[in-house]
Symmetry: C2
C-alpha cells in the first residue's frame, strides 16, 4: 500500500513513528511560520504540520489528493472532537498525486448547496463524513442481514431481473428485445413470483437482497430502483416467519445502532384501526381512540344519527386550542375522507363547543365518564357510516397531536406486528375484490366464511411497524389448490383472466405446493430509520432526483437512432401543440 | 415449524423418537404388505414405512407435497449411499398438503429431458439434487466472497442499474423513459465508471456483487444478465490488488471445494504468449513453445524466410499420428489466423515430413538439438510475420494435445496471474489504438515510451487464469491528469469525442483522483469451475436459453400498445418480405 496508516487511526501510541498517509486536503491554515493542513480520507482527518519551506515547494490546494511521510508528534493543542486529535504529523516528504479544481461547494457536513448540485457532483458530496456514514449504514444493513439469515439456514438466490411483464401492480419498466422486435422484458417490481416458485422448487429457505423497479411518478420517499430484503420459507407457521422478522430487526438495530429493541407487540388490524386509527400505529404515545357510538349515535344530534362515532381525548389543551387550530384539525381529517370532526372542550366540568347544544346533556355526562376526561381536556369526535373511516380520520389527528404536544421521547422504539388483515371487500354492486393478492392464505378459522360471507375472512398477513413507519409486510400463501380455485372464482376470474394475469405461476401450482410464507423489507426505508434521515436520497450512493433523473450522468438521455432501429422501435412524433 | 426435522438429518441417534417430516414424494414402492415411500426435501431423502391400511386412506403419488408423523426405526436393510440410509420412519399420521400432476420428466440427476423442457418446468428441474448443489455453490461464492472482502476492509456499495447509455463496449440493453419520452436509461455492462467515481469519492475499498447486462448474440457461455464480483481500492500498488484476488480465490476454493490452491504463478503477457501461445495458459501440462526463428528463418525453405518461426514438440506420437490428424491440426491452427503448420516426425534419429526436403540438413540437426527431441516425437512448426500470431496458432494445438494425450491430471489446479499487457497497438496507417481502456495506467518504467514509441508501453493490468480459464481481469488506473491527456491525444480523441464517449466521468477526474486499481470476477464462470459443469445455465436459477428467451415465463413477450404509447414509442412496421 502507498500508506502505512489511514487518516483515522493514529493516536498517542504512535508518537515518534514514521508514517505515510494518503488523502485529500481538507483545509489549509498558513500561519507564515508554520502551515497546518488537515488531511482527510474515508476514515478520518489527521493534522499535518508542514514547514513553509517544504510547503512552498508544491502547489497544494483544497481537495488535492496527496501523500505525506513524517513523524507522529503529540499535539500541544489537542482537538478532542476528532479521534486523531491528540497527534499531528511533522511532515518530511510530500507527493502530489493529483490536483483539484475549486469544488462547487465546501466538503463539510452542513453543506450550503442545493440537492441537485450535490447530486451533480456526487463524487464530492460523498466525501462528506455524514454521507460516508449513511452509506456505511446501508452496507451494514445488507451485511448483517445476510449474516443473520445465513445463520438461520437461508440461502441467497438471485432471481432474474429481465422478466415477463404482467398487468398486476404498478407500472413496469420495460426493456425492448432486439432478438424479438416488438417484444419486451420487464424489470421486476419484486421477486414475489420467483420466490414462490423457488419454494415449489423445494428451496426451503430463500432470501435475496433484490433490485426492484417501479415506474411510478416520483414522491419524496420513492426511487425508480430500490433494494428489498426478500425472504420466503416453507413448512412454517405464521409465528415462524414473525420470529425471523423480529430476530432480524433486533439484530440490525443492535449491530448498527446499539439499540436493544423490545419484544414486538402484536395487534390485529382491527385493533390497530379502532384503537390507533392507523394500520401502522405509532405506539410511542398513549393517545387512544374510543368507540362512543353507543352514546352518541342517538344523542339527539342528527349528524351522528346511525353513524359510527369515535372520540380522541387530547389532554390539557382546552385553554390554548384556538378556533384556527380546530379548523386545521378539520382540514387534516377531511383528507382522509371523513366529513369533518367536532371539538368539545371540557372546562369547569362542562363541555363547550359548537355542537354541545345539539346533544342531550345526559349523553354528554355519559361521554365525560366513559372518556374519563379531566379539566381542560379536549375531545375530538368523528362520525362516519364506516367505522374504519371514522377511526382513520381521528388516527391522522392522533399522529398530529403526538408530534405537536411533544409526546414522542427521543430514542424510543416501539416495534409491533399488525396481523390478520381482511382479505376481501364487498363492493357496492355485491362483487368481491381482493385487498391483498389472491394467493394470500386465510386464517384456518375463517375458511368457513369463504362460501358465505367472504368479507369476514382475515388472512395470515403481517406488517411490521416501528414508530409509525411500515418496515416490512408479508403473508403466508395458499397451498391448497381447492381453496385457490374458490378464491379465483370469488374474485370473478375466468381461466383466461387467470392465465393472462398470473400465467406460468398458476402452472407451477399444479406440481406440489408447500405451505409457505415470507416477507419483504425495504432497504431504503430501514436505512433511513437507522440513519435518522428523512431523505431517501441520503441512503443511496447515486440516486435519481424527484424527476427520475440522475444529475451527475444526466440520464436518461437520447440515444442514436440506429440503436432504436435495431429494437424494431421508433420514437413517435410529438403531437402538434 | 410444521416439521421437527428435515429429510436429510435423521440418523441412528434419533431411533425411537417421534418426528414429523415434510417434503415431496420421491418414489413409492407398494409391496402389498408394506408401502415404502421416499420423502424428499432440499436436504435429503428419508424412507417412510407405511402400513397399507394407512396408505390406502389417501391418494398419494409422486411429487405430492405431504407431511408425516411417526417413529424413527433402525432399518433392517441399510442404504449406505444416503445420509439417512440407516433409519426409516414408521408412519402413524399423514397429511397431504397438495397434489401434483404427473411431472413431464423424472426428478433425478440423470434426467432424460431436453434442456428447454427442463427450463420450462424449472421448478421441477430445481428439485434435482444436482441443481440444488449448483445453486448452493453460487450462494456460497457470494457468501464467502463477502466474508473475505469484509474482513479485508471492503464495504459494499450498490451502484445504479438505470444508467446513461454510452457508445463504448458491447451493446446496451435500453430502458425507455416514460417521463422523458424518446430518452433512455441503459442497464450497466459493468459498474466500471461508478466504481472509479466511488474511489474519487474517497470510498477507499469498494466491492459489489453486481448485476451486469450485455445485449449480445448469445454464445454457449453467455447470458443477457450475469453477476460480477467487482472490486476497487485506493492508494494501492499492483501487488496489493493481486494479494486480494489471490486471497479471495484461495478462500473460495478452500471453503467450497476443500482445495488448497498453490501460490499463484506470475508471468508476463509476453511470456504467456511466447511460451504457451495463449494469454490464458493452462499450466497443468508441460508442453512449451520454442522460438526457432534463428534456426529456421534462413534454412533454405522459402515459406519460413524472414518469418517468426515457433515450434511445439508433441512427445511420443510419431508412430501413431496420421495424415488425417495432421490435416486437422492444420485446420485448427488456421482458425487463429496463421497460414498453417508443418509436422516433422523424429524417427530413427532423423526428421521426416513433407517439408524436410526444403530445409538445410544442418539446420535440422540444430533444430533437433535445440528442442531436445527424442525418438518418436513430433515437432509442429508455425511461421508468421508476427511472432504473436505464430505463437497463438501453436498455442491452440498445445491445448488440443494437452487434452488429447490426457496430460491433464484430475483435481489439478494451476492458478496464475498474467501481467503487463501491452497498452497500444500501432495500426498500419501509423495511428494508435488502445488495447485496454484509455484509463489504464502504464508501467512507471514505460512512461518514457509514451511520447516516442507508445507500442512499447505495457500496463499495470492483470488477468487471473486457472487451468486455461480467465477468472478475472483488472488494472490500475491513471491518476495523473497530464498522462491522461497525453493518452487521449495519442488515441486521437478530441475534447468532443472524450465528452461523448466518457462524459461526466472526465469531469470527475478534475477533482483529485487517487492512485487506484481493481478487478472483476465473473460469478458464473467461477461457479462453473467450482461446480465442474461446462453449462452456464446450470449455475443460474432461472437462466435464459441461447436465444435470450426464458421458457418458463415465456419472456420477452408483447405488451399492450398503451404501455408502449406512454413511452413515446411505436413498433415499426415490418418490411414486406
Amino acid at each position: 500500500m502507498l500508506r502505512s496508516h489511514t487518516c483515522g487511526e493514529l493516536s498517542l501510541s504512535n508518537v515518534n513513528q514514521e508514517v505515510t498517509l494518503c488523502g485529500w486536503v481538507d483545509s489549509i491554515r498558513n500561519l507564515g511560520s508554520l502551515v497546518f493542513v488537515d488531511l482527510r480520507d474515508k476514515y478520518g482527518i489527521t493534522q499535518l504540520n508542514i514547514s513553509p519551506k517544504l510547503f512552498d515547494k508544491y502547489v497544494i490546494k483544497n481537495e488535492y489528493c496527496i501523500s505525506v511521510t513524517g513523524i507522529v508528534n503529540k499535539r500541544s493543542n489537542p482537538n478532542k472532537n476528532i479521534r486523531t486529535g491528540l497527534i499531528e504529523i511533522n511532515v518530511k516528504k510530500i507527493q502530489v498525486f493529483s490536483q483539484s479544481e475549486l469544488p462547487p461547494f465546501e466538503i463539510k457536513d452542513d453543506v450550503n448547496a442545493s440537492e441537485d448540485l450535490r447530486l451533480e457532483y456526487r463524487y464530492l458530496d460523498l466525501r462528506r463524513p455524514k454521507m460516508i456514514k449513511y452509506l456505511q449504514i446501508r452496507n451494514d444493513i445488507n451485511k448483517y442481514t445476510r449474516e443473520f439469515l445465513y445463520k438461520n439456514g437461508f440461502e441467497e438466490i438471485d432471481t432474474p431481473t429481465l422478466i415477463k411483464s404482467t398487468p398486476e401492480g404498478a407500472r413496469d419498466y420495460l426493456v425492448p428485445s432486439r432478438i424479438y422486435p416488438g417484444s419486451f422484458y420487464a424489470l421486476p417490481q419484486s421477486p414475489q413470483i420467483y420466490k414462490q416458485i423457488l419454494m415449489i422448487s423445494s428451496w426451503d429457505r430463500y432470501f435475496q437482497i433484490a433490485h426492484c423497479y417501479r415506474d411510478e411518478d416520483q414522491r419524496a420517499d420513492r426511487q425508480p430502483e430500490f433494494l428489498q430484503i426478500d425472504c420466503e420459507m416453507s413448512f412454517c407457521n405464521r409465528d415462524d416467519v414473525l420470529e425471523i422478522i423480529e430476530g432480524l430487526l433486533k439484530y440490525l438495530f443492535k449491530k448498527i445502532k446499539k439499540v436493544n429493541l423490545s419484544d414486538f407487540t402484536r395487534i390485529s388490524y382491527e385493533e390497530a384501526i379502532t384503537k390507533y386509527g392507523s394500520d401502522k400505529p405509532d405506539l410511542r404515545y398513549e393517545l387512544f381512540l374510543h368507540d362512543v357510538t353507543s352514546i352518541l349515535d342517538n344523542c339527539g344530534f342528527n349528524a351522528f344519527k346511525g353513524k359510527k362515532v369515535n372520540a380522541l381525548v387530547i389532554p390539557q389543551v382546552g385553554e390554548t386550542l384556538s378556533r384556527k387550530e380546530m379548523d386545521e384539525d378539520n382540514t387534516l381529517a377531511k383528507k382522509y375522507g371523513v366529513y369533518g370532526v367536532s371539538h368539545l372542550k371540557y372546562q369547569n366540568k362542562e363541555f363547550t363547543g359548537s355542537i354541545v347544544k345539539n346533544i342531550n346533556p345526559e349523553k354528554l355526562k355519559e361521554l365525560a365518564k366513559k372518556l374519563k376526561v379531566k379539566e381542560n381536556d379536549v375531545v375530538i369526535i368523528c362520525a362516519d357510516n364506516k367505522n374504519e373511516k371514522s377511526c382513520i380520520g381521528l388516527g391522522a389527528l392522533r399522529c398530529y397531536y403526538g408530534k405537536k404536544l411533544n409526546l414522542i421521547k427521543k430514542n424510543d422504539y416501539k416495534p409491533l406486528f399488525v396481523l390478520n388483515f381482511p382479505l376481501f371487500e364487498k363492493t357496492d354492486d355485491g362483487k368481491y375484490v381482493s385487498l391483498s393478492n389472491p394467493f394470500t392464505r386465510m386464517l384456518d378459522e375463517d375458511i368457513k366464511y369463504l362460501d358465505t360471507t367472504p368479507e369476514k375472512c382475515h388472512s395470515y398477513s403481517y406488517d411490521t411497524v416501528l414508530n409509525g413507519v411500515e418496515l416490512s409486510s408479508g403473508a403466508l400463501r395458499i397451498y391448497d389448490s381447492e381453496v385457490q380455485k374458490k378464491v379465483f372464482k370469488l374474485l370473478g376470474l375466468s381461466d383466461e383472466d387467470i392465465n393472462t394475469r398470473f400465467g406460468f405461476f398458476v402452472d407451477a401450482l399444479k406440481y406440489g405446493v408447500p405451505p409457505e410464507g415470507g416477507f419483504g423489507i425495504g432497504v431504503e426505508r430501514l436505512a433511513m430509520e437507522l440513519s435518522d434521515t428523512d431523505n431517501i436520497r441520503d441512503v443511496i450512493a447515486f440516486p435519481k432526483n424527484l424527476k427520475a433523473f440522475e444529475p451527475m450522468s444526466k440520464c436518461p438521455s437520447p440515444v442514436d437512432k440506429k440503436d432504436i432501429d435495431i429494437l424494431g422501435l421508433e420514437i413517435k412524433k410529438q403531437d402538434d401543440k
